[in-house]
């Protein structure tokens, strides 16, 4: 009988093998975070030198800044709308593709392709698609001038961002959810059908409960990702405008830090945003995680 530990004859070997990756994570993930937290307690000069310790002053300033809260609320609204849509739409598509309806095999392939498109490219394309003069909504403007104006109307710009984000999120979530659906034993389905359950009943009583782990995974990933991944879209479509209406925290941090050279303010906001995301993820695991049944 081989015990598990006998796979590695030396007790330091596993640590040694994991070390390169741990080192990379340390250098490229934890070190910048430590740096950000460090800077958030200083008034940092862009070119260095003469930095001054200010304690919690930066946090006080950021938390009393209405712009920060506006950006924060916009982030939350974006997170809720974009991530729930980015899970709901792929779910519908996955259920459809799972049913072996006509063309579902083709659809399965086609729906995965967008995964290969970078966020910035999606932004460029959607900026064109939603252009008020030449895009797909241009006919609306033809009959009601100014009805669709993402360059002037903040809500329109926000909708553009959400649509672009959801589109970009479809492939990954679709694959995960479809895999979940396909692993449900056909016999359960057939049993439910024999008991007289219609298609809708089967979705809600058999399929959805059984893909809870996948749904939970996609939702958690989407929630955290929507906070950060909107950056490429904002940078290419709206630049935070018009009038700051699409200036989400992640973009505000970038512009404050790198365009405005306010390294301290950007670090402080980074620290706050990170704590927020950690709390949010923890809350999801505590509140939703308990109800997810991983047993089949």
């Amino acid at each position: 009988m081989t015990s598990e530990s006998s796979l590695f004859s030396h007790r330091w070997l596993p640590a040694l093998l994991a070390a390169p990756l741990l080192l990379l994570i340390l250098i490229f993930f934890y070190a910048p975070i430590v740096q950000a937290f460090y800077w958030s307690f200083f008034l940092e000069r862009p070119f260095g030198g003469g930095s001054e310790f200010v304690g919690w002053d930066n946090f006080r300033r950021v938390l009393s800044d209405p712009e920060f809260w506006d950006a924060g609320w916009r982030t939350v609204i974006f997170m809720v709308f974009a991530s729930s849509l980015a899970v709901a739409l792929p779910l519908i598509l996955a259920v459809a593709a799972d049913r072996k309806i006509r063309l579902s095999l083709t659809a399965r392939n086609v729906l995965v392709w967008p995964k290969g498109v970078a966020g910035a490219s999606i932004g460029v394309v959607f900026a064109f698609i939603f252009n008020p003069f030449v895009g797909i909504l241009a006919p609306i403007n033809h009959f009601f001038p100014g009805a669709w104006a993402p360059g002037l109307d903040g809500t329109d710009a926000f909708i553009t961002l959400i649509v672009a984000h959801v589109w970009g999120g479809i492939p990954f979530n679709f694959v995960i959810l479809l895999a979940g659906l396909q692993s449900i034993p056909r016999t359960m389905f057939q049993a439910a059908a024999m008991d007289g359950a219609g298609p809708w009943r089967r979705i809600f009583d058999v399929q959805l409960p059984l893909i809870m782990p996948q749904l939970f995974l996609t939702l958690v990933l989407e929630f955290t990702e929507s906070v950060t991944s909107a950056f490429a879209l904002i940078d290419t479509i709206t630049k935070g405008g018009p009038g700051g209406s699409t200036n989400l925290l992640v973009y505000k941090i970038y512009t404050d830090g790198f365009s405005g050279y306010d390294l301290s303010g950007a670090s402080t906001q980074t620290a706050i945003l990170m704590v927020f995301v950690v709390i949010l993820t923890a809350a999801q695991f505590l509140l939703l995680g308990g109800s997810v049944n991983y047993e089949r």
Binding site: R45, F47, G48, G50, N131, F133, D153, G243, F258, G265
Partner: protein, 436 residues
Amino acid sequence: MKISILAAAAALMTAACSSAQAANFEFWYGNTGSVEKAILAQCDAFNASQSANHVTCVGQGSYEVSMQKAIAAYRSNKHPVLIQFFDAGTLDLLLSDAVVPVQDVLPDVDWNSYIKGARSYYETSGGKLYSQPYNASTLLFYVNKTELEKAGVTEMPKTWEDIIESARKLKASGHECPYVTNGEPWSMFEQFSARHGLPIASQHNGYDGLNAEYVFNTTFFAKHLQNLIDWRKEGLVKIASDTKAGNYTAAFNSGECAMMENSSGSYTDSSKAFAGKYELSVSLTPMYKGYERHNTFVGGASIYIMKGHDQSEIDGAKAFLDFLRKPEQQMFMTASTGYVPVTNDVLDAIAKSPDAGTTKYATAAVGIESMNEPGTPDTRGIRLGFYVQFRSIFMEETQKAFAGTQTMQVALDHAKKRGDELLRRFEQTYKTAKLP
């Protein structure tokens, strides 16, 4: 152990290189397109002109990215000798302790030959030039002469009153976009305030101290912006997002809009786009009647010498700066981009050249004239902290006013309030530094 071998190897390499060539040094710039082509041509010309030094010119994609990288590079001690920075970053650089005043490094140059508007922007409160103006632009007034004449306007507009009169005629003749603006602070706000002699902030726009406060919301500029709003309602003025192109330069270049104010640096592109279709006219930017004309600010960028390099590299950098200052190099830059020459003697050189009077140098005389108009302590330039961030605040607030979600006065008051907060934080950040 390994590190010391590497270091030794590196030292050997450097020694080998330096014996082969006196100095290799880097110059970072932020332009793209036709300007980048012109810069690279100048770098090649410099390298071909002598063998003592070799410049490597590295494009960073944009002024902002260039500045970001310079900050990161300086903090890790890997910065270039020469770097091009844009107008809005001036105060950050003056206080950075990362650059040496160009006038200290090159004391024998006749720095007074630099055009006034360009000089004053980059000099200390004591009048010492900190960086060498390079691709200098200023705001000019662009007119699609063909379209205006079609609408019955034969005299090209010179004042805002003229513009509006012409705009009404254009509109009456069915033209949908008489005047277009990008709404950006550099053109719509800073240049307007400068030439009308209006202060942007107290302490002479910050030249006299870091304790300045914004005042633009109380000057005649506020009235001008309200006018723009009213004219837009009347259908005479469009902002960039009202245009089909979503970009005001493109809207003008395609003939969609008939008048705009734009940087001289975009002249070449406009003139190429107009070729064979429309007649282009550039002139001094419009004034309101009753206001005396003052100098406009320089735009574009200038070249700084960064600290922490050895003498041979500095010598190479000096030779390169001398090279760029030569009239024929400046003429080359003007002809290929529309940027304005930066020293006064270039105008003579242009007048003597065989191409004098052609459209190649169309921006030179008018650009220099615009920057050489009489100045006041409020038209020297802008010396305000975190100014890049302020520009985006200004955009954000005025965009809301153009979209109609707040009045223009409220927008300007908000921008002032948020701008003052930036100034106070900048003041605290540089509490121990002294404004040179």
